[in-house]
Amino acid sequence: MGFFSKLKEALKKTKNSLAAKLTDLFSRNKLGNEFYEDLEEILIASDVSVRTADDIVEAIKERAIEEKCRDKDYVVGLLKEAIYDKLTAAEPLEICTPAVIMVVGVNGVGKTTSIGKLANLYAKDGFSVTIAAADTFRAAASEQLSVWADRAKVRIVKHAEGADPSAVVYDAVSSVKAKNTDILIIDTAGRLHVKANLMEELKKMDRVVNREFPEANFYKIIVLDASTGQNAYNQVEAFKDDVGLDGIILTKLDGTAKGGFVVSLCSELEVPVVYVGTGEKIDDIEEFDAEEFVDALFE
């Protein structure tokens, strides 16, 4: 199943409700102020931030008024275009080997699962992959990651629970350098972005990679749960400030959650969405495509 149909499948619930709301909206309203207010609400109901929704709707409104437009389909086109513009505002991420990918995020968003899927994806593409189990905090995190490493048939570097995560990173980097591995993926413990000490720990890991493996392309990717609300913005902002971010993996898009917050993240914080997680199986990960994402939302 290709990305398009799969994402559409995953977004069916979302699409249904959004499309239904739009149809309902168009059948009720003329293109007056109330129409635009309702339009804004629909976006907000998809977890698009109030400010971004306001921006998008204002832009459409301005254009529609300028062009004296009263055609609903045309307005939908404008809406799609505006969302697409926001989604593609950030520079897309391209991974070049040798690569180190550090995966970060708050607790319970699906970091470990996403890493399993990523490792499998890269291994299938013919890259040699090693995973570093640097989540030494959560009980049984490295066991969970080992299961994924087995499934993806990639190597894993791990220490005992409670070990210094930077030491795991150091070992993994040494191992990857010695073996000429293409891609190292680092799993980190979930941490709320407001915990200064845990963010310091992350910065230390960041420093270890920069110091020990300067020739590698070092990417930092944040995992976001699609069911999260406006707090996703704070998360990305904080992680970006502390270690820098190159991309987003949006997980749990197989539910009814809309993940509309990515619109704000791509445009305002300039971090692109790279992958989407669409299920619990190992190949339930796809590259993000803004055009298809928008199409799937509105078709």
Binding site: A45, V50, G110, T256
Partner: protein
């Protein structure tokens, strides 16, 4: 229009155009509620819940008299806050206990909400309360979920019952049997995280429920959840009739509007909150804290509360009358200082004022001086307090000795008092002073 950071600033701005006092009008409420709605949405309260809430609050607010000590903006916030607290229920950390042991607690929720960690926290809490809990590992799907529960159980010294990757319904039943045989009084069943639209797994939960008949079914919700919260809570509640809610990851900076959504659709009490990484980080739910968190304005709310407590309605009325008649005396001055002290000191009050509306906020205010002023006024006779003009040199000497100050200090105070009276007169003329 300028951007206003907080709800209180926005409301202050709206009401700044209205000089009229008395009751809140429909138009004022409508304008204010638009901002309240945005505040709720920004806090992740689901759209439908926010709309219902606004409608209900508007109805209550129209025609309400504005409290003497509050601005109209504060009055609106006060009403909104009270309704929020009322809707979110009480501080209720009590778990139901089965009449015939064991008490069975079944956890449920989305993936990554924090069920397994919470099982450990709850186990530890119950153990501290002298109970003998048993953890039962029914998440047979997520890799290493059972190991995670075992590690957590070991950390808190609570036994874990597991049967590997078997049938969760059977494991739950056997776990309960095990508890009965070995004298455990509470069974905590950890289940796999699942999407509310996952029919097969929702059915599995129903089967577990049917099999063991839990005393409590607790829905675990991540405090950072967005608009989807309402769907999640509604579906889980309809399928399982949950008995209580658990909020996790409250130690972040989320405004936590999901709380209002899940509370509104289920009507079930929030029993506990997860507030940290450590297994001891479990707290009861405080609706008042949650309300101000959702509104994003804790400081203003506590200020309102403090103003209400410090100045009684009666006092405020008396004060207003005196002010109008310009018969403000040193006695009133004293009452004012006392009220301020009750509110936590001038510095506190000023720091709580949104947007630095008062220009004196930069002024250096010495709290010790206030104590001194109070001592001076206390050393005066009632007659002197009511009419400072009679205070001659000999009286000043007496007051200075009585209050341990100097005549200069007393002169300073009398001058200050005169200035205050002048200021009040001006403010009255400007219709700025609101008492």
């Amino acid at each position: 229009m300028a951007q206003f950071a907080t709800l209180s600033e926005k409301l202050n701005h709206i009401f700044s155009k209205l000089t009229k006092r008395g009751r809140l009008t429909e138009l004022e409420i409508k304008t204010a509620m638009r901002e309240v709605r945005i505040a709720l949405l920004e806090a992740d309260v689901s759209l439908s819940v926010a709309k219902d809430f606004i409608a209900k609050v508007s109805e209550k607010a129209v025609g309400q008299e504005i409290l003497k000590s509050l601005s109209p903006a504060q009055q609106v916030i006060k009403i909104v806050n009270e309704e929020l607290i009322a809707l979110m229920g009480s501080t209720n950390a009590k778990l139901e206990v089965a009449s015939k042991p064991p008490t069975i607690i079944m956890m449920c929720g989305l993936q990554g909400a924090g069920k397994t960690t919470f099982c450990g926290k709850l186990g530890m809490l119950l153990k501290k309360q002298g109970k003998k809990p048993l953890l039962v590992a029914c998440d047979v799907y997520r890799p290493a979920a059972i190991t995670q529960l075992k590690v957590v159980g070991e950390k808190v010294g609570v036994e874990v019952f597991e049967k590997g990757q078997g049938n969760p319904v059977k494991i739950a039943r056997e776990g309960v049997k095990y508890a009965q045989s070995y004298g455990f009084d509470t069974v905590i069943i950890d289940t796999a995280g699942r999407l509310q639209i996952d029919e097969q797994l929702m059915q599995e939960l129903e089967n577990i429920k049917k099999e063991v008949n839990p005393t409590e079914i607790l829905l675990t919700v991540d405090a950072m959840t967005g608009q989807i919260a309402v769907d999640v809570a509604d579906t889980f509640n309809k399928r399982l009739e949950v008995t209580g809610l658990i909020l996790t990851k409250l130690d972040g900076d989320t405004r936590g509007g999901a709380t209002l959504s899940i509370k509104a659709v289920t009507g079930k009490p929030v029993k506990f909150c997860g507030t940290g990484e450590k297994l001891g980080d479990i707290e009861p739910f405080y609706p008042d804290r949650m309300a101000s968190r959702i509104l994003g304005m804790g400081d203003v709310l506590s200020l309102i509360e403090k103003a209400e407590n410090a100045i009684s309605e009666e006092q405020a009325k008396k004060f207003e009358k005196k002010f109008r008649e310009n018969s403000f005396t040193l006695e009133d001055y004293l009452v004012q200082f006392d009220a301020m002290k009750k509110m936590g000191g001038i510095k506190d009050i000023l720091s709580m004022m949104p947007g630095n509306k008062l220009k004196i906020s930069d002024a250096d205010i010495d709290e010790k001086k206030i104590e001194q002023i109070k001592a001076i006024i206390h050393s005066m006779t009632p007659k002197e307090r009511r009419d400072p003009n009679i205070i001659n040199f000999s009286r000043k000497n007496r007051i200075a000795r009585g209050s341990g100050t100097t005549v200069q200090d007393i002169n300073k105070l009398l001058k200050q008092f005169e200035q205050t009276k002048q200021m009040m007169k001006q403010m009255k003329n400007n219709k700025m002073f609101r008492f």
